[in-house]
């Protein structure tokens, strides 16, 4: 599970001065749960996810992922997570199959089980037709499927997914949502950041709304409806940000 405790991140910029990107955020995500992290651009979602993935060091506070502390045991934490960054980040000169084999080695997987797992993922995400095409020749959807496969590759107990369906067509987004649901059913702990309200409503068991680095609220859809008196997540989200739906 993920346990985030009073996590903060401050950046010092010569031009902008001190900027509190994340300010005392606390929440937890249980096994078999999809937790949606929602917020406008610049709210602190990506910084939070980067801290949990041990890419950034918190200025204060900490978090544990599957029992390992992100500050004291970053190496152990990285063994527990499958991380999908908002930019996909695929090697242009490698094919999806080569990329997956490379990451299987980084995750200390044995060659035999790695090949078997890669074959499974290629089939599950409908990637066989482009598994041997170089990254620079792939469409956005193909790249995102590859990035998802990379995150799922070593069957990690925790998934951190930053806007996994951003810019994708409906069928590809559906494939990725199915993969997330399958991970949930398998008992994985999924932290899911998105801008797509319908998707969050459909996928997430609980939702946290973050704005200006602070977590405004956390709850199930029912709890959020009760707290705001609004029906749709889009209206709830705007209400929490102090804005009115059109």
């Amino acid at each position: 599970m993920i346990h985030v405790d009073n996590l903060s991140k401050t950046f010092r910029d010569p031009k902008r001065g001190i900027h509190h990107a994340v300010d005392g955020v606390s929440f937890e995500v249980r096994p078999g749960e999809v937790f949606g992290l929602l917020g406008p651009n610049g709210a602190g979602k990506t910084t939070t996810l980067r801290m949990l993935a041990t890419l950034l060091t918190p200025s204060s506070g900490t978090a544990t992922l599957n029992g390992f502390d992100i500050v004291r045991e970053p190496g152990k934490v990285r063994e527990q997570i499958g991380f999908l960054s908002g930019d996909m980040g695929l090697y242009h000169r490698l094919t999806p199959r080569e990329t997956l084999h490379f990451f299987s080695k980084l995750n200390c997987m044995e060659p035999g089980p790695a090949s078997k797992r890669i074959a499974e993922l290629l089939t599950m995400l409908d990637m066989n037709s482009f598994a041997d095409v170089r990254g620079d020749k792939l469409s956005t959807g193909m790249k995102q499927k590859t990035a998802i496969a990379r995150a799922l590759l070593h069957d990690p107990p925790v998934l951190i997914l930053d806007e996994p369906t951003s810019g994708l067509d409906v069928p590809t987004a559906r494939t990725i949502e199915s993969a997330v649901m399958a991970a949930k059913r398998a008992g994985k702990c999924v932290l899911y950041s998105t801008h797509v309200m319908e998707e969050a409503e459909y996928l997430c068991d609980r939702i946290g709304v973050i704005s200006s680095g602070k977590l405004k609220t956390v709850g199930t859809m029912g709890e959020l409806r009760a707290a705001t008196g609004k029906e749709r997540l889009r209206e709830i989200f705007l209400d929490l940000l102090g804005l009115t739906a059109a």
Partner: protein, 395 residues
């Protein structure tokens, strides 16, 4: 440090490198084709230009203002066409004639040859005129001595002959050693530059770095895997440069002239003093240098946010490389052991020494040890920087 992770990163970088057109151009195409092309130009075009100038000089038009008897006929007999011109200098500069000859009265009279050294035909004509006039003067002196009843031999009571005892191998070492070190080191840096940029700033620009850093690979393993791949790129560039240069010169040895300042320059340049022992010594000296070059470039390129920015940071390094390499050519420089602590300079001097067959093993040891220490320091700095989120996520 887990070797299998380092190996995986190294292999991926190598695969990426051989598929990267820019890296291949700097690593393979430039070293393989630049020297054959340059030497081909040197051995084909330059002799042709010289030959053409000399042929033209034999029948060139010249303007002559002389009064001493016999000079004008001597020039005409040599095949030169004498034409009229009032202003000799202007006639040479506007190419009406290839050269001009003017006599200033006096005791003895002075003969001035005007030529335009920016024009090869004019230069060759001037040289030809000088030869003809000196022959005519010598002939006149000999005839005067004879008519006075003296033996012309009194002008040459003895001859002076210079004999080079260095031998072809040593001469070849001197000729090769003076340039090979600089060329190798310079191309090692330029050859490794693009792969290093691609694996640092390129990785940031393509946003591949986040997923990589979120993997269980440790930062030191990532830096080592990448640095080893970059070092291989610099060594590959050095090997290809050496191979291409040796092949080109050997195949054109007979056509090379004047390179070592002697008549058998071609033969000297063609006798490259590279036996297995020399090659092993040079290779062993280049390995720590390659690790040093790769680590330094890695640390510098890592600061950059983009490919372009990294190029801007690394380009001045080429000049930094040239400077210590040229230091060896400074007159009066005493080659103390301490000088071999200077990176780049030490390696270029060691290559020079190996090719001369005169390498001091103490200096060789200092060079290897110093470069390994510098490589270690640069690697340590690169690893520290790779752990700094301000460097990795600079925006």
């Amino acid at each position: 440090m887990r070797p299998f992770i380092v190996k995986a990163i190294f292999q991926r970088e190598m695969l990426d490198m051989v598929r990267d057109r820019r890296a291949l151009i700097s690593m393979v195409v430039v070293p393989l084709f630049v020297f054959p092309l340059l030497i081909s130009v040197m051995t084909r075009i330059i002799p042709r230009i010289q030959e053409k100038s000399q042929t033209e000089a034999k029948s060139a038009s010249i303007a002559v203002h002389v009064t001493t008897p016999g000079l004008r006929p001597a020039l005409e007999q040599a095949g030169m066409k004498v034409v009229e011109a009032d202003d000799l200098k202007a006639a040479v500069l506007n190419k009406t004639v290839s050269a001009g000859v003017e006599e200033t009265p006096g005791t003895p009279p002075a003969i001035q040859i005007y030529m335009d050294n920016a024009n090869t035909t004019s230069t060759a004509t001037g040289d030809r005129i000088r030869e003809v006039l000196l022959d005519a003067r010598n002939k006149q002196v000999r005839e005067s001595l004879k008519s006075s009843g003296l033996d012309p031999q009194i002008l040459t009571p003895y001859t002076v002959v210079r004999t080079n005892i260095a031998g072809d191998k040593k001469m070849s070492g001197a000729a090769w050693g003076s340039m090979l070190g600089y060329v190798l080191l310079l191309l090692m840096f330029t050859g490794g530059m693009y792969p290093v940029i691609d694996m640092t700033a390129g990785e940031k620009e393509r946003k591949t770095i986040e997923a990589f850093l979120a993997s269980p690979a440790r930062r030191s393993e990532i830096v080592l895997g990448k640095t080893l791949a970059a070092a291989i790129a610099t060594l590959a560039t050095a090997a290809l440069t050496l191979g291409s240069l040796v092949y080109s010169v050997k195949n054109n040895a007979s056509k090379l002239q004047g390179g070592a300042g002697s008549a058998n320059a071609g033969q000297i340049m063609g006798t490259i003093p590279l036996d297995a022992h020399s090659l092993a010594l040079i290779t062993a000296a280049l390995v720590p240098m390659a690790l040093f070059a790769a680590s330094v470039m890695f640390a510098i390129a890592l600061i950059a946010r983009s490919y372009k920015e990294a190029q801007t940071y690394l380009m001045p390094l080429v000049f930094v490389v040239i400077f210590p390499a040229l230091l060896g050519g400074l007159p009066g420089l005493e080659f103390s052991h301490a000088l071999y602590l200077i990176p780049i300079f030490n390696t270029s001097q060691i290559i020079h020494g190996v090719l001369l067959g005169d390498v001091n093993m103490v200096n060789y040891g200092i060079t290897l040890a110093a470069n390994l220490v510098y490589a270690g320091i640069a690697f340590f700095l690169a690893t520290r920087m790779f752990q700094d989120e301000r460097v990795l996520f600079r925006s």
